[in-house]
């Protein structure tokens, strides 16, 4: 009787864990997708905030010519062809403010094309 009770308790606990905790766990491990549109000579959005240690997927879409997005301090460098989409997954491991620049020469305002990234705790 006691053995049956223990088996039942174990099954209920396992079922509870499977139904309650798995989605939460999945939600924690699925990286957030952040879509960034690039066009001469700006990014939209122009500013994003991430949490330290939280993995994200940066999706870079070009709305005109070839562009890039590089955060030298974070070792992130992505390039996208004209009209194309590229993505990269990364996990920011240091807090602070970072500035990303276009890494593919795209014209006269190329040097002023930047995206601000804040990494917070």
């Amino acid at each position: 009787m006691k053995k049956l009770f223990l088996l039942l308790l174990f099954s209920v606990t396992a079922l509870g864990a499977a139904t309650c905790f798995t989605p939460a766990l999945a939600a924690q491990t699925t990286p957030r997708r952040i879509v960034i549109e690039a066009k001469r000579f700006s990014y939209d959005p122009g500013e994003i905030t991430l949490k330290k240690g939280e993995p994200v997927i940066l999706v870079l879409k070009s709305r005109d010519v070839a562009h890039g997005l590089r955060f030298r301090d974070l070792n992130v460098d992505m390039k996208v062809k004209a009209g194309g989409t590229e993505e990269v997954e990364f996990t920011p491991m240091q807090t602070g403010d970072f500035v990303g620049h276009c890494s593919v020469f795209c014209g006269s305002g190329h040097g002023s094309m930047m995206l601000k990234l804040h990494v917070v705790n």
């Binding site: 305002g109 190329h110 040097g111 002023s112």
Partner: protein, 157 residues
């Protein structure tokens, strides 16, 4: 009245032809202008390059240099394959020359930012990012041997 107008037009044409003729600068003129640029006109003397001198950063500089600097300076920074290099006044300097290499890193960055007036050297602030401009400074300090990089693509091989 008609005669007066013809004289005026002839004088103007003469000035246009002779006054705008570009002669190579003499030694004294070159020395004076070089001194003035190094010690008076070119700013940024004490600015330090924030980028470490690594092969990766030099490669970044080489790539950024190739965007459009090569049109006048050549792939090697020494005018190789630039068809009009010998016809400019003031002349396009070799970036490997003592005249250029004796600028500080900060002065080279300043020149890249603002250009050198009244020469043909344009400023690139806003056209290239600070990172790219500083990486070009690194590339300038480690230029490849003259002629080793071929002719800029825009002028054919």
């Amino acid at each position: 009245m008609m005669r007066h107008a013809i004289v005026m037009m002839s004088a103007a044409a003469l000035v246009a032809v002779t006054g705008c003729k570009a002669n190579p600068p003499g030694r004294v003129e070159t020395a004076v202008v070089t001194y003035a640029k190094h010690h008076v006109f070119i700013g940024g003397r004490n600015q330090k390059n924030p980028l470490p001198d690594t092969p990766e950063n030099r490669a970044d500089g080489k790539e950024a240099f190739s965007y459009y600097c090569v049109a006048c300076h050549g792939m090697d920074g020494q005018k190789t394959g630039v068809p009009f290099a010998g016809h400019m006044s003031p002349p396009i300097p070799s970036l490997a020359s003592r005249e250029v290499q004796s600028y500080t890193d900060g002065q080279l960055k300043w020149i890249l930012d603002y250009g050198v007036w009244p020469s043909g050297m344009p400023g690139s602030k806003g056209t290239l990012s600070d990172d790219e401009l500083w990486s070009i400074v690194l590339f300038l300090r480690h230029l490849p041997p003259a002629g080793s990089q071929g002719t800029p693509q825009m002028y054919g091989q």
